[in-house]
């Protein structure tokens, strides 16, 4: 599967993993902007803008955009994270060009005032929805607690107040500043006609003005508070813990993901056997997340309120045991088998490869075949895991819990 890349004169990068036998073509614009690039006055603008991008351009109404995306039978959507905003469509190969033209056009949205006001209502509804849905914003609240003043702690949705106060002018200014070619990669996977992709990009995106893009990376001073938020109407108690982990540029990220699999995979991990298999918790898992200048391991626990304290102690015990005694060769081998198979299964669809190729490019300006990614995991040794445990002890966490409980104590450290 050849990898191809090209950069337009305005700085827009085009990368593709081309697979001639694939049934579909996946395309996406990966924009290097997200909640961390916002100031408090415009909190939530990245995500709101993601919605507004579908609201039309000088030549297309919102209805045109939606209709045309459906006319080419696309599976399309968009999402916003702390660091990225991604617009994507998976289509049959014969629709590569119309899909590319449409996505390119909407990346220069009109941001009309009346659409802005209507969509503001949808965003406010979305905020209400997440407030009402387990785990009731616990992830964002714990991110905010851990990252404190660092911009990775910013909320993706923003607040009802920040969204209500947001103006079209502020959104336009943010757009001009962040959606510049230097911040955008056009990514493709599957059956891709690369020459044509570049030619159409030149025509559709070549005139986008090149303005310099930067992202401040202030020093992170993580905080480790223990917070209890009471929500009487909840049935279960929800706990989120954040500990430090390797960043996107740290070669320890493979070892750390294996460690997260051993300690907190959904099935077969230490947390699974201790807490889920025994029915003490509905869910207990740990996942690794990597950003430009920081990384985290996030643990999630949900259980009956009366068992929350005991489960927190058990979590603490699992974390302490990992730090004190490490993990075993057998656990390492099992985690490798799981990850290897998962990678192969996930890579079969171009729609999934798009995110692997695009994510790798926008975070590290690198490309890896599935085999190379696999090699990154297979090369990990027990020593690597133990080094990661030492550098990023899972015992040091910011903890936030939401549920019916009014009080919950930080777990005791082992004597």
């Amino acid at each position: 599967m050849p990898f191809r890349e090209h950069t337009l004169s305005n700085g827009l990068e085009i990368v593709a993993e081309c697979h001639d036998q694939a049934y579909s073509t996946a395309l996406g614009f990966f924009v290097r902007t997200g909640a961390r690039d916002e100031t408090p006055e415009i909190a939530g603008v990245s995500h709101f803008l993601e919605h507004m991008v579908f609201k039309g351009t000088p030549t297309r109404s919102a209805e045109d955009v939606n209709r045309e995306l459906d006319e080419i039978g696309s599976h399309s959507n968009a999402f916003t994270s702390e660091e990225h905003t991604v617009y994507y469509a998976t289509v049959l190969p014969e629709y590569q060009e119309p899909a590319q033209r449409l996505l390119s056009d909407i990346l220069r949205p009109s941001l009309r005032d009346d659409d802005f006001e209507t969509e503001k209502q949808v965003i406010l509804e979305e905020i209400l929805k997440y407030e009402d849905q387990p785990p009731f914003g616990a992830h964002e609240k714990c991110m905010s607690a851990y990252f404190a003043a660092h911009p990775l702690g910013h909320s993706i949705l923003g607040t009802a107040a920040s969204i209500t106060g947001l103006t079209p002018a502020a959104m336009r200014a943010y757009f001009q500043h962040r959606y510049c070619p230097a911040n955008i990669a056009l990514v493709a996977a599957g059956r891709v006609d690369f020459e044509h992709l570049v030619a159409v990009a030149r025509e559709c995106c070549g005139h986008w003005p090149a303005v310099p893009a930067s992202r401040p990376t202030p020093r992170l001073q993580p905080q480790y508070p223990f917070q209890v938020i009471t929500k009487e109407s909840a049935t279960q108690q929800y706990v989120v813990q954040i500990a430090s982990g390797p960043s996107a540029l740290d070669s320890d990220r493979y070892a750390n993901r294996i460690l997260a699999t051993i300690l907190g995979d959904d099935s077969g991990s230490r947390m699974f056997w201790e807490l889920v298999d025994t029915g003490k918790a509905e869910c207990a898992s740990m996942g690794a997340y990597e950003f430009d200048d920081a990384g985290i391991n996030m643990t999630f626990l949900s259980c009956a309120p009366e068992e929350a304290q005991q489960n927190l102690e058990k979590l603490r015990e699992i974390q302490e045991q990992a730090v004190a005694r490490g993990v075993t060769e057998q656990e390492l081998q099992l985690a490798k088998s799981k990850i290897a198979s998962h990678l192969v299964l996930k890579s079969e669809r171009p729609g999934n490869r798009l995110f692997a190729v695009g994510g790798e490019w926008i975070q590290r300006r690198d490309y890896q075949t599935v085999k190379e990614s696999l090699q990154g995991y297979l090369a990990v040794t027990l020593d690597d895991l133990h080094r990661v445990l030492e550098r990023h002890p899972p015992t040091t966490t910011a903890t936030l819990t939401i549920g019916p409980l009014e009080h919950l104590q930080p777990p005791h450290a082992a004597s």
């Binding site: 209805e63 939606n66 039978g73 209507t118 088998s337 299964l345």
Partner: protein, 414 residues
């Protein structure tokens, strides 16, 4: 397009369905057992769910931990679920591990240990699920909608209820396995990269001597229908609306599916356009076809803030009425483009193909090829869908809302 499908019925009644996909590196399987929650005695609601937990706690020569480690060594991504009609176990892995993985599943359905000392843990897992479902209000409103719309046992929530789960004893689980984990009525569907003859022979060796027994008969009551409001302290109101439709096996199914597609498939669909895009009433709104073997329904959902809930329900119901007036050619063209692309992209996933095989067999007693499905879609026309809508005028709705305030129900609700 795809390779020919294969079917084999073993002497004990077990059905093997297979679709070779030699261009993939994976293989996926699904075992549908006639052990759905429709078989749960009313005093033991949740028994089938608890049983799926118990059979995974040791089987054949392995205890619980050894079983899971064996799956992990083979790189199996696995899942289990319970619907009204079935308990199912599905999985996928790299193709060369398929037969070894199926051997583990033969142990699971035929030789589970059902260890007494694990019953309490398994029960706790199920109780956690019931409590978690309470917090998921969007899920809850649709669960209550199905319970109200279908006669029992077809609308039951598969996870059961707290008190009946507390009553389950080991003997119940043993009886459930003995009567419903049986080859007659069981479908094993496999898709991916494998040679057919080897698969058929392996499955024959693993399951061929599974003693035949017939699954139990199901008794049903009558449906409640009408409107029900569940008071819940929240700034949002969850809305569920259902109406009767044709099941998957009905000759008109794809006419009904086409009409619902116009309503809800894609970003230019009517509900997304009218409820979200034009009015900004909510973030999430949809309608979907749901099919049991002998009856079907259309189930719609919208979640919105309390002060906009009445308008949302009105617009939703109005759109359902307007659908009866017919659809436009351009709407059908867009829908066809989406369906065609879905069908072709199914060939990229062994997991989605094997589930489609099993579902086809359950509803039709045979499997449709992707080509056959493509022909059915090509034959859909505005005239045929509009004729269907004319034959099935404005339906009677079952409505459930969950939130701070009860809503006023628009016309045509029983």
């Amino acid at each position: 397009m795809s390779e020919p499908q294969r079917t084999h019925v073993y002497d004990n009644g077990l059905v093997l369905l297979a679709e070779p996909m030699p261009w993939l590196e994976s293989a996926a399987w699904a075992i549908f057992l006639p052990a759905g929650c429709c078989c749960d005695p009313p005093s033991r609601l949740g028994l089938s769910s608890l049983t799926t937990e118990m059979v995974q706690r040791g089987c054949g020569p392995r205890d619980s931990r050894q079983f899971l480690e064996a799956l992990e060594r083979l790189g199996v991504e696995h899942n289990s679920s319970v619907t009204a009609a079935h308990s199912s176990f599905s999985g996928a892995t790299v193709a060369e591990n398929l037969c070894d993985a199926l051997a583990l599943y033969a142990d699971l359905v035929r030789r589970p240990h059902l260890p007494a000392e694990q019953l309490e843990d398994a029960r706790q897992v199920c109780l956690q699920e019931v409590r978690a479902a309470e917090d998921d209000v969007a899920h809850k409103v649709m669960q209550e909608l199905r319970r109200r719309h279908y006669p029992d046992p077809w609308g039951r929530p598969s996870q059961g209820e707290l008190a009946p789960l507390e009553r389950v004893v080991l003997k119940d689980v043993q009886t459930h396995v003995a009567t419903t984990y049986v080859p007659r009525g069981t479908i094993l569907a496999v898709a991916g990269n494998f040679p057919w003859e080897r698969l058929r022979d392996t499955v024959g060796q693993l399951f061929g001597d599974w003693p035949a027994a017939a699954p139990p008969e199901v008794q049903e009551t009558s449906a409640l229908n009408g409107y029900q409001h569940l008071t819940f302290d929240s700034s949002q109101t969850q809305i569920g609306v259902a109406f009767a439709s044709v099941p998957y096996r009905h000759p008109d199914y794809f006419q009904a599916r086409g009409a619902v597609g116009v309503l809800s498939d894609g970003m230019s669909s009517r509900l997304f356009t009218e409820v979200r895009e034009k009015r900004g009433l909510c973030y999430s709104v949809y309608a979907s076809c749901h099919s049991l073997r002998d009856r079907g329904s259309v189930q719609c959902y919208a979640g919105t803030s309390t002060q906009r809930a009445q308008e949302t329900l009105n617009v939703l119901v109005d759109q359902l009425h307007q659908l009866a007036q017919g659809i436009q050619q351009a709407e059908l063209d867009r829908l066809n483009a989406r369906i065609k692309s879905n069908l072709i992209m199914q060939q990229e996933s062994s997991g989605s193909r094997c589930l489609a095989l099993a579902v086809d067999w359950y509803h039709l007693g045979r499997v449709r090829t992707l080509q056959e499905l493509g022909q059915i879609i090509d034959q859909l026309s505005c005239e045929s869908i509009n004729a269907y809508l004319a034959r099935n005028p404005t339906p009677t709705f079952t409505i459930v809302t969950l939130g701070a305030e009860q809503l006023e129900v628009p016309r045509a609700v029983s």
